[in-house]
Symmetry: C2
Subunit: 184 residues, 2 copies
Amino acid sequence: MAQAIVNNGVNVDALLAAREALKSAPEAAKFTWRASCTWKNGTFTQTKVQGFHGLGAEQKHKAEFSFDADHPEIFASEDLGATPVEYVLVGLVSCLTAGVAAVAQNRGVQLRSVEAKIEGSMDIQGILGIDSEVRNGFDGIKVTYQIDADATPQEIEAIVAQSQKRSAVYDVITNPVNVTVEVV
Amino acid sequence: MAQAIVNNGVNVDALLAAREALKSAPEAAKFTWRASCTWKNGTFTQTKVQGFHGLGAEQKHKAEFSFDADHPEIFASEDLGATPVEYVLVGLVSCLTAGVAAVAQNRGVQLRSVEAKIEGSMDIQGILGIDSEVRNGFDGIKVTYQIDADATPQEIEAIVAQSQKRSAVYDVITNPVNVTVEVV
């Protein structure tokens, strides 16, 4: 059986077991992901990620992750980190790529390499308030995969399509999410 | 004049000058932001950010930024980085917070500290394919600001509201963005 010798490093058996377990405990499927942001100076901020809630309990990453964000020098900032919009691209491409590995594993397809380029286009007349007809965010995002795997081009296409179908970040970006902002 | 002594580290004069310059050169306002993702193993990926296009030319951050993403151990992964959905939260909260600093500067409001908590809730019955009625992404995101500034609570509320109005990532998350994924 081909599947037995395929190893993309994804523990699909554990994921399928979790799916079965959550079917009878839907409350445990409710997750809350969190981050804490501190303004440093100008457009430079530092955001930390560690705790989250899921499986009915508080959870913690093994380490605290810290992310510097800033605007580039051409926007008169100090370029001390990636821009916020680039963080969104990182989230989308990493979500889809993890999905490619998981779906390939589930379908018994051995991956050798997966590379993805992502680009988001944006007319900054929106954020600068020059033209109110121009949106602030991306007017489109394009992801291009180059995948070396033991599979036909059609099978690879289907794996990528299934990853989109199950991707949390793809959903967040292609569909509206309600965001509430409050000051305490 | 209050504005003269306010310094949040944002060069608003340069931004206003850029806005004037771009009014007569709208092509220069077209930006493309990019990232390149390499699959490492399992759900672990590394995404690099450095080049982008804008002001009619190729641009480069001062340094290359690299981001590890993974799923946590409770999803049978190795937790070698923040999750993709947490990267989205980092992007949103850093975008809104940079906006708070810029708007405050433009309004002559001195900030002393800005802290933001962000949380996104998600029912993972979606991504696990348990219930097709459950969306894959966040069912809602909440951002809570704690701001110490030389301003009334009403002025602070208005600054935060204006930041939302001009935020690229807030737009990306609250409104649909077209995403194209292809395999070459």
